[in-house]
């Protein structure tokens, strides 16, 4: 299959992809694997697509699969609206539409030669997963690779297969915690940000990628700063309503920035203060 480097940016037209598998992650989250009907389009970790369901509409969804294999694209989706609910009930073989990839990716190259610290809350593991896979594929370029994962409860953890594999892999230091648990969970209980002071990494020479609800990202950034990490090495990814993906519909504004054009990945100094303004 041909892989195209530059996505067509001159059109708002969707491209047909065929659903290959639908993997249940939690009771309301699935990962949908799709294959392009025509050429595959290369993407960078942290970018997103506009996914169209026939007759229902579009939703902006982060890509959660390996950037080395754009011919099998995955998006991990929580059922919250019309489109995402429809995506949760797709059958293999169904055609869906894809526009993208859009947005500024994670600055993975900045972490080369440094410790890479990835912090994910809940479904926030999905947008950082391509970065982790890319980092592990070129592991020698990084020093420590640390992953801190938080979820509301053990049954809300996504990509558990990956977490099991990574837990046994000396190339990556994985710490998983949940907000609350019942018997049967032998791991940590507590918020993911509580791990920040405890895990080994060099805060003065590390790059952090943080993805989760905004409240969690604020706590995480504060924890990293308290540990001595320079603020411009902390990166977060934001979410707003998106309609076009190309900076012309106006929906994804956060003060001076348009998320689809300037983000969704931002360095902390770019958005930290904006995130504290209510209803901005």
């Amino acid at each position: 299959m041909t892989i195209v480097d530059t996505p067509p940016q001159r059109t708002l037209t969707t491209r047909p992809y065929v659903v290959s598998t639908v993997r249940q992650q939690t009771h309301d989250i699935v990962t949908v694997d799709i294959r392009p009907e025509r050429e595959a389009i290369a993407f960078a970790p942290g970018q997103f697509d506009m996914i169209y369901v026939y007759g229902v509409g579009e939703a902006a969804l982060s890509i959660s699969s390996d950037p080395a294999a754009p011919q099998l694209l995955s998006h991990t989706i929580r059922a919250v609206g019309w489109v995402t609910r429809a995506l949760n009930h797709l059958q293999p073989g169904t055609t869906i539409g894809v526009r993208g990839p859009y947005g500024r990716p994670w600055p993975l190259a900045d972490a080369e030669g440094r410790d890479l610290v990835v912090i994910a809350g809940g479904i926030g593991l999905a947008p950082v997963r391509p970065a982790l896979l890319a980092a592990l594929a070129q592991r020698e370029r990084f020093r420590r690779v640390v992953l801190l994962v938080g979820a509301r409860s053990p049954r809300d953890l996504v990509f558990r297969d990956d977490l099991d594999v990574w837990a046994a892999d000396p190339a990556i230091d994985v710490h998983v915690t949940v907000d609350s648990a019942v018997r049967g969970w032998v791991g940590r209980v507590g918020v993911v940000t509580k791990l920040i002071p405890a895990v080994p990494f060099d805060p003065e020479d590390a790059v952090a990628l943080v993805c989760g609800p905004e409240v969690m990202m604020r706590f995480a950034a504060e924890g990293l700063i308290a540990r001595g990490m320079p603020t411009d090495r902390i990166h977060v990814t934001l979410e707003r309503n998106m309609r076009c993906g190309v900076g012309t519909c106006g929906h994804c504004q956060l003060g001076p920035t348009l998320l689809c054009r300037d983000g969704p990945v931002y360095a902390w100094p770019e958005v930290g203060e904006l995130m504290s303004v209510r209803e901005l």
């Binding site: 982060s62 979820a151 509301r152 609350s180 032998v186 507590g190 918020v191 940000t193 509580k194 609800p213």
Partner: protein
């Protein structure tokens, strides 16, 4: 308490365990020694309880090995773990106030080693040496503030509303 204290280790071992614990970084040597005089080393097997809800607050614990779950039990349901504590963390602050009971069950998730400092003797130390007392209470206060922030973060259900 629900378990038999294991035989007490020697004083020197206790002193170095307390001095090396993250909670005690920077405490003066004589105060470390005074704490060690009031301390016992506890080794608890996985599944056993450090204390149970309603039990008397007889000690302050410094976890040196293993993990402990703070649990709430309710009838007809599995106990709910609200937080886990690990090596390097302090367990319990109700002991500061005489007559209070433990509010949670503290259950060992694996084999746990802790330093248990006798609550009555520790309160006497706090009362007799205001400088040490202030330092210790501030340290506990910092732990309480951190736990409260974490508890609030859990309260807002920070992983729930996310649609990526």
């Amino acid at each position: 308490m629900s378990q038999e204290p294991l035989p007490r280790g020697d004083a020197e071992q206790l002193r170095s365990a307390i001095a090396a614990h993250a909670f005690c970084h920077g405490i003066a040597a004589d105060h470390i020694a005074a704490m060690a005089d009031a301390a016992t080393s506890l080794e608890l097997p996985a599944g056993s309880f450090v204390f149970r809800r309603g039990g008397p607050t007889t000690a302050f614990y410094l976890v040196t090995e293993g993990s402990i779950a703070l649990e709430v039990a309710s009838p007809g349901r599995d106990p709910l773990t609200v937080e886990t504590l690990h090596a390097g963390e302090a367990l319990g602050w109700s002991w500061l106030f005489p007559g209070r009971d433990w509010q949670f069950d503290a259950r060992c998730l694996d084999d746990v080693t802790t330093v248990a400092i006798d609550a009555t003797r520790l309160r006497t130390l706090v009362d007799d040496d205001p400088a040490f007392g202030r330092d210790l209470v501030l340290r506990i206060g910092r732990v309480v503030v951190d736990r409260l922030i974490h508890a609030r973060a859990q309260l807002v259900d920070i992983h729930h509303h996310d649609d990526r």
